[in-house]
């Protein structure tokens, strides 16, 4: 298992940065790069950066990386990094569908414990795309596979607590809307929706997500 994790982490970090590819589709087929800065709410208040590279082909794809971190006094003690591939199905009558599988790596540190988590996600969008703007419904499932837990304060309070790698501790669904508007090579994207626990009963304390991104393509 450790070898698997090492392999995954090596692959993940071979990409130089991370972020979120929002509204990748655009009639401008010459642009291959898209970068975005974003701020939003996603299990806390977060900000981040994303980069995507579009490959051509019968069914083109965008390989994207994302990095987001919560606001707070300690920079990057917590973060979520993603590596994903978004398949592109060209719109018919301006309607388009995409599927985006990806891997997730999270780190968390606080007085209570340090967590390293590996997960995966599968997202899809169904949208209406015009030359300058788009709007789409999105759905996403985020599943945790393994978490390394190193306890701090919690170990002081409970000395028999076990540090180490744990199996899946849950997952969550997101359902929402996203929209974008492009002005030449610069765009803005908005997304918002509801978060559900995978059992649709144990939802997070902040059961909503929202994000605003400023995008640049070239």
């Amino acid at each position: 298992m450790k070898l698997v994790l090492f392999f995954f982490l090596s692959m993940l970090w071979s990409f130089t940065s991370v972020a979120q590819v929002v509204a990748w589709y655009n009639p401008d087929q010459n642009s291959r790069h898209i970068m975005a800065l974003h701020i939003g709410v996603d299990f806390g208040t977060v900000y981040g950066i994303s980069y995507g590279y579009k490959f051509s082909g019968k069914i083109p794809a965008v390989v994207g990386t994302e990095l987001s971190t919560p606001f707070g006094k300690t920079f990057m003690d917590d973060f979520k990094a993603k590596l994903n591939v978004q398949t592109i199905f060209y719109p018919v009558n301006h309607l388009g569908i995409s599927i985006k599988p990806g891997m997730i790596f999270r780190r968390y540190a606080s007085e209570a414990a340090v967590l390293l988590n590996i997960g995966s996600e599968l997202g899809t969008t169904i949208g209406y795309y015009r030359d300058k703007w788009s709007i789409a419904f999105e759905a996403n499932y985020d599943h945790t596979h393994a978490t390394l837990i190193e306890h701090r304060l919690l170990k002081e309070y409970y000395s028999e607590i076990q540090d180490g790698w744990y199996g899946s501790t849950g997952g969550s669904f997101k359902f929402g809307l996203q929209g974008s508007y492009w002005l030449k090579s610069t765009g803005i994207a908005l997304k918002a929706g509801k978060i559900f626990g995978q059992n649709f009963s144990e939802d997070p304390t902040l059961p909503f997500y929202a994000d605003i991104s400023v995008m640049k393509k070239w």
């Binding site: 298992m1 606001f71 006094k73 891997m103 076990q162 199996g167 501790t169 304390t205």
Partner: protein, 326 residues
């Protein structure tokens, strides 16, 4: 396009989790409860299995210690063992479904009455003679529960020490919570509490919910917290199911512990902390005004967790009161 298969391949590999520990393994992330560990002191009572511990001579006047929360436990109240050396029989218990008491299904928390009935069962269990006096010491939610008990059974209680009850009616509780749970959206403390929820999420098992809830502990006691706590304090287990269920009870059913308090003529000791900026003398007098005979004391140098961070000052004042009422 073949790049699509890279994350799918990695996803499949990471799913090979045979070497991973199961988060539900007993005792791995949260302590065993009394039904899982026979060495813990316990009592089967009123249809549940409670973590119960006593100190002192059973025939001495009884003090029942009632912890806060809902969903907390009595670990932070243990300094009160000292009352046993002062001639009291001190009873600690983790409330139904909390601390090291047995986990119970959320359906059991269909009202505050079940918590009052548990307390009543304990009082009857430990009271050995009609003349044996019974005192209650309640902290925060525990002070509310003590008051709810007195509201129903005033004749059974010979004195009560209250430490910062949020309120005795639901509107009071809501008002106090709005002042005490000050949230800074972009703070490290808030995000330290919320971030782990994407890792521990959507699971029904109480153990995982309890473990996840423990990450909120540092938020409540982060530097600069409104309630004036100097930092975190020890606990055994956050009773997430009990907490959520009792909060829902308050929101859906409301509560009013004041309906018969005007008939409770016994003197009440009401303490509040110097450093809890959401509380103070004015709120103490607002909440406590329903008791006909009450005295107020500010406990200096502590925040809301009076019996932990302000024990020495609290102990002196409470012991004086208890000896006078004994």
């Amino acid at each position: 396009m073949k790049l699509v298969y890279i994350p799918l391949f990695l996803l499949g590999l990471s799913a090979c989790n045979s070497d991973l520990m199961d988060p539900l393994t007993l005792g791995s992330l949260v302590p065993r409860t009394v039904d899982q560990d026979a060495s813990l002191p316990s009592l089967v009572i009123n249809g549940t299995h409670l973590h119960v511990e006593t100190f002192g001579v059973p025939t001495d006047p009884i003090i029942v210690m009632i912890h806060g929360g809902p969903g907390g436990d009595y670990r932070d109240l243990l300094e009160a063992r000292a009352f046993a050396d002062d001639g009291f029989f001190v009873v600690f218990y983790d409330q139904r479904g909390t601390g090291l008491s047995k986990r119970e299904d959320a359906s059991q928390f269909d009202g505050v009455q079940i918590m009052i009935d548990d307390l009543n069962a304990l009082v009857h269990h430990f009271k050995l003679a009609d003349a044996q006096k019974v005192f209650l010491i309640g902290h925060s939610w525990g002070a509310m529960l003590a008051t709810g008990y007195i509201n129903q059974h005033p004749e059974k209680i010979d004195g009560v020490v209250l430490a910062e009850p949020g309120g005795f009616t639901w509107p009071q509780v809501e008002e106090y919570l709005s002042l005490s749970k000050h949230i800074e959206l972009f703070s490290e403390a808030l995000n330290d509490a919320l971030f782990p929820e994407q890792i521990f999420t959507g699971r029904d098992e109480h153990e995982i919910q309890d473990y996840k809830a423990s990450y909120f502990f540092t938020f409540e006691n982060a530097p600069g917290n409104t309630i004036g706590n100097a930092g975190p304090y020890p606990f055994w287990r956050s009773g997430a199911v009990s907490f959520n269920a009792m909060l829902e009870v308050g929101e859906t059913q409301g509560l009013d512990f004041t309906t018969h308090l005007a008939d409770f003529s016994t003197r009440v000791l009401f303490t509040y902390s110097e450093l809890n900026t959401a509380y103070g003398q004015a709120w103490a007098e607002t909440v406590g005004s329903v008791f006909p005979h009450i005295e107020y004391h500010e406990i200096e140098g502590t925040g809301h967790e009076i019996l932990y961070f302000g024990w020495d000052a609290f102990y002196a004042i409470a012991l004086t009161y208890l000896n006078e009422m004994k």
